[in-house]
Symmetry: C2
Subunit: 423 residues, 2 copies
């Protein structure tokens, strides 16, 4: 089995060093290379200065089999990467006809006149293999030089991602004869990383040597990625999937998906499969639950609408919450959040509804109900369920956590597929 190559990433641009732009490209590249089994040894961000770029290339090639760069391919005079690479590899710029046609097509599509600086973008170093850019004007470049592969891509994330997926990853797999690798993703919610790790420690310890488990935590959720490397035995994927029933048994309903989709999409698919419509009544989350649900393309199949009732008067007038309930229990209470969910369901005419009421902070807490106290509710035709959670890591994260928790409450409360919650 060939040795797996090492990679290094060089991101180019003064804006990265000044902190004007957060480098999200490197994380994408690290993830995608990791899926091929290629380890990223180092990520370096350098300025647009030629000497600093050349030094970074010189050092990277001593450590890595493949060096990927992003940035510095724009049409302006600040963007020097192409010229630096041309000199670095001792070659010259020549017109690349196919790239010129691609650039022309981009301008034709947007119905804008092409400038000479854009035409210049189709001049590429003679020794490179050009990489097509179907969504921007700067082609990528693939060089092989004294045993090292160099790939230069634009810094614009969506151009780089398209180029990487369409061309660079398949070519790297071929070039390095990367052994086939398989991934199985299992997504969990409601268990912290260390609790999760403890729960599945035996299962993880018993994995065969060609399979590895990665924990990818985010707010309130942990993605598990099982990676299997080919070991000469047949049906690698089948053998990986055969390990899942034991994992499911340990994690139960903490698993919300066995594909790489966010929680809001997973619950959307549950609603669509059941033919149920949904609405929300939101106080503390201020519309964020509705935003998450509608961030999924095609969510109009099941999402009808939402009533954001920040003010108690709106809770009363638009959701039918009782003024006496508000007076007796306060807005952040089980009684109110239940009435909100039931009111949303009725006023929006949906099969199910979610509701949130809490104290996102930084102000508004009391000894009784400190900042981070949230009441959540789910209502359908047969039942209304409420749940209280506490979480305080600042206003923004509190809102996000409460949103994730109420979507999880929906997931756990929906009726089975053949037993509609609608009347």
């Amino acid at each position: 089995m060939p040795k797996l190559p090492n990679a290094e990433i060089i991101t180019i641009g003064d804006e990265l060093l000044y902190g004007q732009v957060i480098d999200t490209n490197s994380a994408f590249l690290g993830q995608e290379l990791g899926k091929l089994g290629i380890r990223v040894r180092q990520i370096t961000s350098v300025s647009d200065r030629a000497d600093e770029i050349v030094t970074a290339l010189d050092l990277a090639r001593t450590r890595a089999d493949v060096v990927l760069t992003t940035g510095g391919l724009g049409p302006t005079k600040d963007d020097l990467t192409k010229h630096i690479l041309t000199e670095y590899f001792g070659t010259e710029l020549v017109l690349h006809e196919a790239s010129l046609r691609d650039v022309e097509a981009i301008f034709a599509r947007f119905n804008r006149p092409m400038l000479e600086v854009n035409r210049q973008q189709a001049y590429l170093p003679a020794t490179c293999v050009p990489i097509r850019n179907l969504v921007g004007t700067a082609p990528g470049m693939w060089f092989e030089d004294r045993g090292t592969v160099f790939v230069s891509m634009p810094g614009v994330p969506f151009e780089m991602k398209r180029m990487m997926t369409d061309t660079v990853l398949p070519r790297l797999a071929r070039h390095f004869q990367v052994p086939p690798i398989e991934h199985v993703v299992v997504q969990t919610v409601g268990l912290g990383e260390s609790f999760l790790a403890e729960k599945i420690a035996d299962w993880e310890a018993a994995l065969p040597p060609n399979m590895k488990l990665a924990y990818l935590p985010s707010l309130g959720a942990v993605r598990l990625r099982l990676t299997g490397q080919a070991d000469g035995q047949p049906d690698l994927r089948g053998r990986m999937l055969a390990l899942l029933p034991a994992l499911r048994e340990k994690l139960g309903n903490h698993i919300f998906a066995e594909t790489d989709i966010p929680l809001e999409q997973a619950v959307g698919e549950l609603l669509a499969a059941r033919g149920l419509t949904i609405g929300t009544a939101e106080s503390c989350t201020g519309g964020y639950v509705a935003h998450k649900l509608t961030s999924v393309a095609g969510s109009s199949r099941y999402f009808r609408g939402s009533i954001v009732a920040y003010d108690n008067a709106v809770k009363t007038s638009l959701l039918g919450v009782g003024t006496e309930t508000l007076a007796a229990h306060g807005a952040v209470s089980e009684a109110v959040v239940r009435q909100m969910a039931e009111g949303a369901r009725q006023r929006l005419g949906t099969d199910v509804a979610l509701a949130t009421s809490g104290i996102a902070g930084p102000d508004g807490g009391t000894p009784d109900k400190p900042v981070g106290t949230f009441w959540l509710a789910y209502a359908d035709a047969h039942q209304t369920l409420a749940r209280q959670i506490s979480f305080n890591r600042g206003r923004q994260l509190n809102i996000e956590y409460a949103t994730s928790a109420v979507l999880n409450l929906l997931r756990l409360s929906l009726p089975p597929e053949n037993n509609s919650a609608a009347e």
Copy 2:
């Protein structure tokens, strides 16, 4: 005047190379160091392996006067930074009593038992100046070694930020006798970076040599940061502020703030100053406008609520949009978005209201109304204004752009402060 120092940043952790975590620390550090006039020459992300960390330190000190590292200070055995630095600087770990008291205080605050691994965190290299961590268990470390300053901080962003702001930045300013520097921020919306640059080219060209302008673009908005370096003349800040009237004249009402606050906070302050309440009626933005408005602490002073009317039936029942209007013009139309804004104002009982209706994509476009077509409206007691925009860079960015545009419409449409829009 002393020469300004160069900095390098080293972020440590396998999770950065695997792409499990996006490195946001470097951008924060780049911005904060930039405000002191310290230029970041390079950012390097390395694994948790000792040899790779040592190599990165060796290289960084050849190029920089100050090397800042984040990460690898946790209590587990993966976190090696402290041990590596101890060996790198030829010293030994000793118990630091003040740090132990800080760690003990953290555990007391969360009412949890302190483990031996946490006690170990108060052992620090004998030659370092410890940096207090008031919000976590890992102290930072400041070393001076053969003319270079090394600062080691935790990787947890909010711990690192607090340490940087409270201790490291002031100490760097003293250590390097950084000349006083002043910043003035002017925030604009509705002008692309290149148009903006063209509009103010003369003004920028006429800046005195000790002042520099940075363009910090984000979706639909550009932050301008004017940085002035002390030049021996009195009242640097006053001279910078004296340049603003000419800038205001060129940019007019594209300027939404002259402090570093987001657009949603700027419009919130306009509402609060006028004593006006607001609500929203949202179709395509799905609650995101409400979310933005309520992401501002204290927004309950002016934000009452929102009706997210994804479904046309909800537009009719809860916002009073006419079924014949919907049939004649379609949901994405001037007529409907006006009725939505007026309906929201009435049903939510607010002084002003915003409305959005559009096609966020990826599906739902027609030749007549392609994906990215948005109608926006503003309503108060005296007028209703509608505006159409086109923007298509994918569902998520489309929603964000439409939200920013409707908040800007609000900003431009509010009555002057002494002329309330309320009845």
